[in-house]
């Protein structure tokens, strides 16, 4: 294991001790484990869309694979189309309808609901 790995593991008890001092041990620990204090993403013009994604880190990884086959991808029109498509519906509702209608995208062979692939691409683009 690398030194970096050791350092990472060593941070958890430290963070736990610090939160305990604030009387937030249990909640803080759970939040840390659940990733609520996890990666920080700078604000983007697309956060209304990207906040729909429950696992942004995973979405960025998937999105990079989408962008690899769409080098001319433009985030602004993509976001406009996504907002229009999703409207006031919940993302899970939109995806369910898409799957029923066989609107799927292939991302490196993985079959995903089309909107999920589109959101992932936006997340990857926004991430730089």
């Amino acid at each position: 294991m690398s030194e970096g790995g050791k350092a990472k593991i060593a941070r958890r008890p430290f963070l736990g001790a610090a939160l305990a001092a604030l009387g937030l041990a249990a909640a803080g620990g759970a939040a840390y484990e659940a990733g609520l204090l996890g990666p920080f993403y700078p604000k983007t013009p697309y956060d209304d869309l990207l906040d729909l994604l429950p696992d942004r880190a995973a979405a960025i990884t998937v999105g990079k694979a989408v962008l690899a086959r769409e080098p001319a991808y433009l985030p602004k029109p993509a976001a406009v189309a996504l907002r229009r498509h999703i409207g006031r519906n919940s993302l899970s509702r939109v995806l369910a309808v898409e799957v029923a209608a066989d609107r799927l995208s292939e991302v490196d062979g993985w079959l995903l609901p089309a909107t999920l692939a589109d959101l992932s691409a936006l997340a990857a683009k926004a991430d730089g």
Binding site: L53, A59, W110, L111, L112
Partner: protein
């Protein structure tokens, strides 16, 4: 008990007369002989090999190939009593109704009769294959009591079931090797003579070319003799059947039954490319009966995924089956795809398990996928065969459509997802393999211009020559052939009884 005869011990140029000659002692020939027991028909079964593998005899099966890579012709079948069941996998499943129908999106498709013509013979065929009670998709209920089925929700793909041949009392739990398994039963039959090491090298027609006059038979030890039979059935497997018909070209110069250039054409096998997809089950390990055989209701079975008949019709795809193979690891992108998709669908996939998928693909009937005689001759002087093997991009595309539907259903049911591992022709061919299910070289059709045999398996234009086995299948389905060809042979046996009545 009547011991098997050894053709090598016969005097030179012997002439044998019989009512019915069965050429070939694989499951087709053996099932026919057994079905004709207790009849007054004197049956002679001529088998090229002996009771065990012999390299010299096996070499008679050698041939050459062009086109898409295929298995060597002498490695994809076995030439001794029991035929290729001496190394078969024992997978059994009856053909579907639509396998018999003319499908307007499948050129050259359709049998001359519907599935219900064959249905009365399935139970006996199943018994000969020792595959347990005839249950198949009825196994869903008992399987579900063992462990839950993977929920596919509604759609074009469903969980189908295969059953397996299990050689009775075999300590190694092998599938039934028809030769060894039924040798004692064959020896009991008063009306049957089994002759081993007897290679039929020619189907000799009468001068008017309307009937079979006699068979030329040879042994590798140099004996030559003649069999005169009122009727003969070629049961030598689909590849050798084409060779025997084509090479018997002394009276009909194009070969027996080949007046319309159909013999040897439409050769097919089930394409079984490996690792064509990855399936992730969000809920963790699949029930053991997906990746391996399990036992319920006195039968060995395995669950697979198949397109429904409605889906085949609607999407104009062909038959196929999807098998769950090994557990596999996911790379970074795959892990992300699973994590993101499951989280968005609101499913806990923390224990998700991934599997590689295998398959069996029905091919489009193709007249140019064919066997022809080659220049080279074997040790008995028979011309060897050349196989021109082909598979079309459409064959792959249609199967991919079914896999895609499976993936769609898993997402809809929120139980899993799929990666399609092959897209380009090169990717498919790189993982290509074949089932060794030889089909279609003497296809059945009412119209002699379109087929070699009629609906009774009689060679068009020849009064007393029949073909038994999967060489007569005009369309193939995705089910493994043996149980089906045995059912067809049992039907032929009934027809034979009528001829001799």
């Amino acid at each position: 008990m009547k011991p098997f005869l050894d053709a090598r011990t016969l005097p030179h140029h012997t002439e044998i007369a019989t009512d019915l000659a069965i050429i070939g002692g694989g499951p087709a020939g053996i099932s026919l002989a057994l079905a004709l027991s207790n009849t007054p028909i004197r049956v002679l079964l001529l088998e090229s090999g002996g009771m065990a593998f012999d390299a010299r005899t096996q070499k008679l099966y050698r041939g050459t190939e062009t086109g898409v890579a295929y298995l060597p012709l002498d490695a994809t079948r076995l030439r001794y009593l029991g035929g290729s069941t001496n190394h078969w996998g024992g997978w059994c499943r009856p053909l579907d109704e639509d396998d018999f129908e003319k499908r307007e999106w499948v050129a050259h498709s359709g049998w001359p009769f519907p599935r219900k013509t064959l249905e009365p013979y399935f139970a006996r065929a199943q018994a000969l294959c020792e595959a347990g009670p005839f249950l198949y998709d009825k196994l869903a209920a008992p399987a579900a009591t063992m462990a839950p089925l993977l929920n596919l929700g509604a759609g074009g793909v469903y969980t189908s079931f295969f059953q397996f041949s299990q050689w009775k009392d075999n300590p190694q739990h092998l599938p039934t090797h028809f030769g060894e398994r039924y040798a004692a039963d064959l020896k009991q039959l008063a009306n049957l003579t089994v002759m081993l090491h007897a290679n039929v090298t020619g189907l000799r027609l009468a001068a008017d070319a309307n009937s079979l006059d006699h068979l030329d038979v040879a042994t590798l030890s140099g004996k030559r003799f003649t069999v005169r039979a009122r009727y003969a059935v070629v049961a030598t497997g689909a590849i050798e059947t084409a060779r025997l018909l084509l090479a018997s070209n002394d009276v009909m110069t194009t070969g027996v039954g080949n007046q319309n250039d159909r013999v040897g054409r439409y050769f097919a096998d089930h394409a079984i490319p490996r690792d064509t997809a990855t399936l992730v089950s969000f809920g963790g390990n699949l029930a053991p009966y997906y990746g391996n055989n399990a036992v319920a209701e006195d039968t060995h079975f395995r669950a697979t995924f198949s397109p429904t008949q409605a889906f085949k019709r609607q999407r104009r795809v062909l038959g196929s089956l999807v098998t769950v193979e090994q557990q596999t690891k996911l790379d970074e992108l795959a892990t992300a795809a699973v994590s993101e998709t499951s989280a968005t669908l609101g499913v806990d996939a923390s224990g998700a398990t991934a599997y590689s998928l295998g398959c069996g693909i029905e091919l489009m009937p193709d007249p140019d996928r064919r066997l022809t005689l080659a220049g080279e001759r074997d040790a008995l002087g028979m011309p060897r065969l050349e196989l021109a093997m082909r598979i079309s991009d459409d064959d792959f595309a249609r199967y991919r459509e079914t896999l895609r539907e499976l993936g769609r259903q898993l997402l809809a049911a929120r139980t899993g997802m799929i990666r399609l591992d092959c897209k380009t022709r090169e990717e498919w061919l790189a993982v290509m393999d074949w089932g060794s299910h030889h089909l279609g070289t003497a296809r059945m059709h009412d119209d002699p211009k379109q087929g070699v045999v009629d609906a009774d398996s009689k060679v068009h234009g020849i009064t007393n020559l029949f073909v038994a086995g999967s060489s007569v299948f005009p369309t193939y389905g995705s089910s493994n052939p043996t149980m089906n060809l045995v059912a067809l042979v049992l039907r032929l046996a009934d027809h034979m009884k009528g001829l001799f009545a």
